[in-house]
């Protein structure tokens, strides 16, 4: 018997018994619909909401607070390199990323392009390992600007226009991610105490001193400090140039100066690029400004000497926008902002050492730095902004010395498997570390979510079991109806395996139709829920366009479950059909 004839006969059976079978399939449709709906919902919430706050295998730890008479005091343990390496040694831990907050007063101003007039506020920021926000930065940029690669031949960056860079003869956008991953910037110093841990003050600049083995792969030892080896300027960070030195060709930051001190606060993009200080003035080359996309960052607001630097890349928390729109905009008569995207690329300036609340640092210790918004993340500081960790470490070292840069304020711990996280958190308690409030909330929420998905899975499972029983019942009835038919099939040569296969095929088709219809129903339902008024405005859901996650796995699970339960339901009828005695029916 060929599959085609088998299908033909089953098709006739289906057509003839369509009413009974349709009723039998209702359970499958409802069961698989509820399964898919809730899988997609809990999966979507986990993926699109919770995982943005905190991935299920990550937790943010901070030093334990001891409450004394209602005051929170930190337990006097330090979150330094020793504690970090202890955390790295915990079983199951695959990643440990320290975060550090700025430890000095600062103010910022800017935003005229978006808000209609400049903001001027106290500035708080922290630093995060760039890897933790890579996907979010890339995502935001692609949403806003499309694919990363531009076409077009070029020789220099100027040929490619604003925001683009010339790489190996073709224009490519120097992506926001590139900026955030590796912002660069040199730190001026007087002694080692003004440099971050692990760096030394060499020729007035902080840098990694050459070790006994030199500077490792891709590094060049240049007058006692390690630099990145390069072939051309393209291998170097913005504001650096590839030039020959003692150890070979290496990336060196360009020195620059401004014409006068007033220019430190200039808002003219041309003026702030200053003039590059030539390494051998006798060569008589024409004066040039810091490269496009960089500016001349001076050692203090009283100094005209500095280095060419790219603006500090900054990411914002989506909730900051909500606070602005709901509170700030109306109170101060400023324009509300419709979406996060328009903040991308917006520049602003900071002065380290100034404050609205506390005393300013001495004038020659105040430093101006320029920044640019490159992305958004729920991991960013809610009240402030977030920069790459290296930037905060350098800034803390500059303003507070080595001690101020040595200690992390919190640490993000990641385990290879979700199940290991709880144990790792317990182990960390011994080190005086507890989950940060936000992380703790996320953990509780994800636990609730897990329980909910189990409950919904169970409910759907019960529905499917009932539908399976219903299918058994229907098929037994249909087989009684078809007794003669089956007996005649047997008399003209049908094998028992043919009879059984036809029953399973019929149930299998029912399962596919039922599961398919249920999955489709769940999808339609989800579309309806997505359209409900107020869905977009749920707290924490800013930027979440679709709450449901209909991954191929979820769709497949819906159809597969319906299929399995349909086949299980056909088991008994198939056996019964095979056991039927054709002689008794025919004579």
């Amino acid at each position: 018997m060929t599959l085609a004839t088998r299908m033909g006969i089953v098709g006739r059976h289906l057509a003839r018994s369509r009413t009974h079978l349709a009723f039998a399939a209702v359970g499958l449709v409802v069961g698989s619909a509820s399964l898919v709906f809730f899988l997609a919902l809990t999966g979507g919430i986990r993926e699109r909401v919770l995982n943005r706050l905190y991935p299920v295998n990550q937790v943010e730890l901070q030093r334990e607070m001891v409450r004394v008479f209602g005051l929170g005091l930190e337990v006097p343990s330090r979150l330094d390199e020793a504690v970090l390496s202890a955390l790295r040694g915990l079983p199951g831990v695959q990643g440990v990323w320290p975060k550090q907050k700025s430890r000095f007063q600062a103010i910022l101003w800017g935003g005229r392009e978006v808000f209609g007039r400049d903001f001027r506020v106290e500035s708080f920021f922290d630093g995060i390992d760039p890897v933790l926000v890579r996907d979010e930065i890339r995502h935001a940029e692609q949403e806003a600007y499309g694919p990363e690669v531009l076409s077009g031949r070029c020789e220099t960056d100027q040929d490619c226009g604003l925001g683009a860079a010339c790489r190996a003869g073709t224009c490519g956008r120097r992506t926001f991610w590139d900026r955030f991953r590796d912002p660069g910037g040199d730190l001026l110093c007087r002694d080692d105490g003004g440099c971050p841990p692990g760096e030394a003050c060499i020729d007035g600049r902080c840098g990694i001193p050459c070790g006994d083995q030199g500077c490792g792969e891709g590094g060049v030892c240049d007058r006692g400090r390690c630099r990145k080896a390069c072939g051309s300027d393209e291998d170097c960070l913005p504001g650096e140039t590839c030039s020959s030195g003692a150890g070979g060709r290496a990336c060196r930051r360009l020195e620059c100066r401004l014409e006068n001190v007033q220019q430190v606060f200039s808002s003219d993009p041309e003026v702030i690029r200053g003039w590059v200080v030539s390494s051998n003035p006798s060569a008589g080359e024409s004066p040039r400004r810091c490269p496009l996309g960089t500016w001349c960052a001076t050692g203090s607001v009283r100094s005209v000497e500095g280095t060419c630097e790219a603006p500090i890349p900054v990411i914002l928390s989506p909730s900051l926008l909500e606070i602005y729109n709901r509170v700030v905009a109306s109170a101060m008569g400023m324009q509300p902002v419709s979406g996060l995207e328009i903040l991308l690329g917006v520049p602003f300036s900071m002065v380290f050492g100034e404050s609205f609340f506390i005393e300013d640092a001495p004038v020659d210790r105040r430093v101006l730095r320029r920044c640019v918004v490159v992305g958004f993340s729920n991991k960013a500081l809610d009240f402030g902004f977030t920069v790459p960790l290296g930037v905060v470490v350098r800034a803390n070292a500059m303003m507070r010395g080595r001690e101020g840069a040595a200690e992390a304020t919190s640490v993000i711990l990641e385990t290879a498997r979700n199940e290991d996280l709880a144990a790792a958190v317990e182990d960390a308690k011994v080190l005086g570390l507890v989950p940060a409030p936000r992380s703790e909330e996320a953990r509780k929420a994800s636990q609730v979510l897990r329980i909910l998905s189990w409950v919904f899975g169970l409910v759907s499972g019960v529905m499917l079991v009932i539908s399976s029983i219903h299918i058994t019942h229907t098929f037994l009835m249909l087989l009684t109806e078809r007794r003669l038919e089956i007996a005649v099939y047997r008399a003209v040569g049908a094998r028992l395996s043919d009879i059984r296969a036809m029953v399973f095929l019929e149930a299998g088709l029912l399962g596919v139709f039922g599961g398919g219809a249920g999955t489709g129903l769940a999808w339609l339902l989800a579309q309806g829920v997505n359209r409900l008024p107020g869905m977009g405005g749920l707290p924490g859901l800013a930027g979440v366009s679709r709450l449901f996650d209909f991954s191929p796995g979820v769709l497949l699970a819906g159809v597969a479950c319906a299929e399995v339960f349909a086949l299980v339901g056909a088991w008994l009828p198939a056996a019964r059909a095979a056991r039927m005695d054709p002689a008794a029916v025919l004579s």
Partner: protein, 241 residues
């Protein structure tokens, strides 16, 4: 002598509830049927005729003894072997016709080809036409069985049994549900087939059938009590030992 189509030795079939008071449906039946023979199996109601046919057709498998059909030992064949034997070599005609009411006449006749191998599937349509022409119902090929008379239905059933060109045609009271005249038409059809070489076994109550077939086997309480073979011309046969 023609080749042996059916060889039965010591066949006993005990239905549930039989034994003790009630005799088994078949007990110790010996029987040899050769190709081309026309055999009438007669006997009172309950004597075991239907049971014998079901055993020969492999529909009933709960017996003891030895049964060979087309040289194949039914006791040793699995379901697959017996199903294939039915599909390729056997034809059934039942008292109640057993046409499938949802299929057209043509589809009913085609049915065996759906369960056979590819060659039978391929030849099915041609053979179905030939078989329906043979029973004179090709013009009704598109009708549902419900629209045919009883006699026509039984002729369609015969056409279905002919599709695989069976070497053994088993008919259980083929005229039992027909009035005498209509029965005669079906009987003539079966006799023609027998004359053309099809081995024919008919279980029947009717004397007129046993009279026109070449051999009569009489059962009583599950035993063969008479086995008479006549010359084709109709001369008297010999009694069984």
């Amino acid at each position: 002598m023609n080749e042996v189509v059916v060889q039965v030795r010591g066949l006993t079939r005990v239905h549930p509830g039989q034994g003790g008071e009630r005799p088994p449906a078949l007990q110790g039946v010996d029987l040899v049927i050769r190709a081309g023979e026309g055999v009438a199996v007669v006997g009172r109601s309950g004597s075991g005729k239907t049971t014998l046919l079901n055993v020969l057709g492999g529909l009933d498998r709960h017996w003891t003894g030895e049964v060979l059909v087309q040289g194949r030992d039914l006791g040793r064949l699995g379901d697959e072997g017996i199903s294939d034997l039915r599909n390729r070599h056997l034809g059934f005609v039942f008292q109640a016709f057993h046409l499938l009411p949802h299929m057209t006449v043509r589809e009913n006749v085609l049915l065996p080809s759906w369960f056979g191998d590819r060659s039978l599937l391929r030849d099915g349509p041609d053979r179905a036409e030939a078989a329906l022409r043979r029973v004179g119902l090709w013009d009704r090929a598109g009708d549902l069985p419900g629209r045919l008379s009883a006699g026509e239905r039984q002729r369609v059933a015969v056409a279905r049994a002919l599709l695989n060109r069976p070497s053994l045609l088993l008919c259980d009271e083929p005229t039992g549900n027909l009035d005498p005249e209509t029965g005669l038409v079906v009987l003539d059809l079966l006799l023609d087939l027998n004359r053309e070489g099809t081995t024919l076994v008919i279980a029947t109550h009717e004397d007129r059938i046993s009279r026109v077939l070449g051999r009569t086997v009489e059962l009583r309480e599950g035993r063969v009590v008479r086995d008479v073979t006549r010359d084709p011309v109709g001369s008297a046969g010999r009694e069984a030992p």
